[in-house]
Each structure stands twice: as C-alpha cells, then as structure tokens.
C-alpha cells in the first residue's frame, strides 16, 4: 500500500522545494530553479490525476497509464480544464511568491479570473459573474487602493523576507499532497452510492432540471430567497455591521493622527508621544 504512494511524495517534495526557492528570502538565489521545480511538481500531480499513474491496481506497474483509472476507462484529458487550472494555480503561486505587493495583487486578480472561469465551466454562471464583480472588481481594487495609500516607497525590506520559508512551504505542500492522495484514493474504489449517483439516467434527467437548468440565475435566486431567506437577511445585516465597524476603526485611527499632530491638550499630547514610538511600548 505504502509503495504506491511514492509519486505523491515526489510531487510534494518538488512542490515544497520549488515554493521554498520562490519565496522571498534575504538572499534570493535560485528563483528560476524554484519556478521550474514548482512546474515539475504540478505537472507530476497532473499526470497522477489525469492518467491515474498512482491509482494503479496492486501488481500493475505505474507506467501502464490506463491501468488504474477509476472505472477503468481511458483518461479523457480535457484541454480547456487543464488550461484554466494551470492559469489559476500558476498565478496563485506568483501572487504568493512575488516580492512586490502590487504584483501580488495583480496576479491574485488573475487567479480570481481563472477561478471565475472554472466556476463557469461547472455551470455556475452567477458565481462566475459575482467573483469577477465582487472580488476582482471591488475587493482587489480596495487592496490596490490601500497599497497605494500605505506603501508609497517602493519595495520595503519586509517584502523581501519571509517567516520560515522552508517550514511554511513544507506545511502547504504536505497539505496539498495528503489532500490529493486521499481524494484520488477515495475515488479509486468508489462505493456503489457514488458510481450510481454519477451515472444513473434518473440523475442525468434531474440534472437537466436541477443545477444545470437553462434558467440558472432564476433557479439560484429562487433557492436563495426560499430555503435560505433567513441567511440572506443575516448576510445583509453582516454587511451593514461590517460597514459600521470599518468606519469606526478608520475614524479612531484618524483621531490618533490628530493627536500626534498636537491639536489636543496635555493628556492627548502625552499619549501621542507614547504612540509616536510605534505600537505598544512594553517589551
């Protein structure tokens, strides 16, 4: 059993080493090698997933590509999905590893577009649109706006450093490796419920009227405002509370700035000198 899992270990190791080399460090060496290693790890993972290299049945070699696919069928490599997934994941890697936070935000926007395309590919039209409008249109622009406000001096030294680059790269890569392995092995011998669920004609017919219905947005809206009406109300309240909270936080901060500029009396002045050192003063 354990002997079948070495390809996952290799992919995890390649991915972890590549991420470690890519993350900003005090001496940034080997970043091209890191990019190559990450690509190699992801490519190996793709091979494992698509050609069932490691979901092989006991006794058959890994290189008999079609041996161990779930349900024994030949791998249907979907080029569109592969391209979308590659764009999403590679721009995610770039967003996490580039030193300049502005480039991080822009590559994160690319990740969001890739995710939106993946949603669309699943038939989730409204979510694709909402991701582009809310995430890429509002949240990302707010990120860039705050970056412009708070980061006027180009690359700071702390953008070219990481906490424990090797440990965090290993943690993330091991998480990915274990999740991939358990996912694929869970589907290696799918129980009767899963296989019938995916293939039975009743389900196929239900799909036509269910989640893949032509009136997608109307159906989703119907679901939202019938079974999840209370949740929608709570979400609206949450948005209002978040708005009030953000304004309260910013108002408090600008009050502090006034203190520091000396527009207040003695008490405020003493407090301001304490704050000018920056942050809590105890060590």
């Amino acid at each position: 059993m354990l002997g079948q899992q070495w390809p996952y270990a290799v992919a995890t190791l390649l991915f972890a080493a590549g991420m470690w080399l890519l993350l900003p460090r005090a001496r940034p060496q080997g970043r091209p090698i890191g990019a190559g290693l990450v690509c190699a790890g992801l490519a190996l993972l793709t091979l494992l997933v698509h050609f069932g290299l490691a979901v092989g049945v006991e006794g058959q070699p890994y290189w008999s590509w079609q041996a161990g696919l779930p349900h024994g069928g030949a791998a249907a490599v979907d080029i569109v999905f592969l391209v979308l997934a590659a764009v999403t994941v590679l721009s995610a890697v770039a967003a996490v590893t580039l030193p300049s936070p502005v480039y991080c935000a822009i590559w994160f926007g690319m990740t969001l577009l890739g995710t939106a395309a993946l949603f669309l590919y699943q038939g989730a039209q409204f979510l694709a649109l909402a991701t582009v409008v809310v995430y890429a249109g509002a949240i990302l622009v707010t990120f860039l706006f705050v970056l412009m406000l708070a980061h006027p001096e180009g690359d700071a030294y702390y953008d070219r450093l990481s906490w424990e680059a090797m440990l965090s790269a290993c943690a993330g890569a091991v998480l990915v490796g274990i999740l991939t392995m358990t996912t694929l092995q869970a589907f290696r011998d799918p129980g009767p419920t899963i296989s019938t669920k995916a293939q039975s004609p009743q389900v196929a017919q239900a799909r036509a009227t269910g989640i893949l219905a032509s009136e997608h947005v109307a159906s989703l809206g119907g679901q939202l405002f019938s079974s999840h009406l209370v949740s929608v109300e709570v979400a609206g309240t949450l948005l209002l509370v978040a708005l009030v909270g953000a304004i309260a936080i910013v108002a408090q901060a600008s009050g502090n700035r006034l203190d520091r500029m000396g527009h207040v009396g003695e008490m405020g002045r003493a407090e301001a000198t304490g704050r000018a050192v920056g942050g809590p003063t105890h060590v």
Binding site: V89, Y157, Y158, E164, A198, L220, V277
Partner: protein, 148 residues
C-alpha cells in the same frame, strides 16, 4: 470528462489553491499580502463547494459560495481598515512590528539577515544632502530598519 472526473479535478484544484494560500499566509510579512493569501484559501474552498454541488445536483454548494463571497467582502473591508490603522501607528506594513502582542513565553523575533538594499535590485531614489546632526536612533528601529 465524466462527472466523477470533474469532481476530483476540481477538488484537487481547490486543494492546491488552499495550500498555496496557506504557504503565503504563513510566510509573508506584508499584512496586505497576508490578507490576499487568506482570500485565496477562501477561493479554494469555494471551488470545492461548487464541484460538490454539481456532483450532487444540489444548490447548497453554490448558495454557500454566495455567502462566502459576502463574508469575504465584509472581511476585506474590516481588515483593510484595520491595516490602514496599524500602518498609521507603525509607519509600515510589517507584521513583525506588532510582535509585542505575542505570548509572554515566546522569544522575541529578530531579523538575522536582511536582504540587499533596494538599489541592488534595481530601485533608484534621489539622494538628499544630509544637514544638521543625526539624531540617535532608537534600538527598536535599529532592529527593523536598515537605513538607520
């Protein structure tokens, strides 16, 4: 692709997004980039939820993702307001500046090796002629800044 292949492909893309976001959140020191990484982890979860919803022909996955987007918007608003406030207090976005709020039994973090100056990586700034007496630098700043 069959429905099953679609499901596990999407689950693995979601796992990758989550893992990459985890790496970024653990390792980066810029607060804004940390929040970007946290949002990326949310994206990974959303991808998995949409895939499960499709597989089970259930609207629950997509409805949950709608709420994830709502909560992410709230989170981003509050987090960025907080980041701006912290920036006004500290003068930088470095999360290590706030290590005084760590547990009392944890050792203090000190940068042992600082990266090369910005000019070494292609940044150029105008030089001003220094005038007057240089004030003594504070120890706290000597730990964190290379220019003093």
């Amino acid at each position: 692709m069959s429905e099953l292949q679609l499901l596990y492909n999407y689950l693995i893309v979601g796992a990758l997004l989550f893992g990459i976001g985890l790496i970024g959140f653990l390792s980066r020191r810029n607060m804004i980039v940390m929040f970007l990484a946290a949002e990326m982890m949310l994206q990974g979860v959303s991808v998995s939820l949409v895939a499960w919803g499709r597989f089970h022909n259930d609207w629950g996955g997509q409805v949950l993702v709608v709420f994830i987007i709502t909560v992410a918007a709230c989170e981003a608003g509050i987090a960025l307001a907080l980041v701006l406030m912290l920036f006004h207090r500290a003068g930088k976005l470095d999360i290590a500046f706030w290590q005084n709020i760590r547990e009392s039994n944890q050792p203090r973090f000190v940068d042992h090796e600082l990266p090369a100056d910005g000019e070494a990586v292609g940044q150029h700034w105008p030089k001003l002629t220094p005038s007057g007496i240089e004030p003594p630098a504070k120890e706290e700043e000597l730990v964190h800044r290379i220019h003093v």
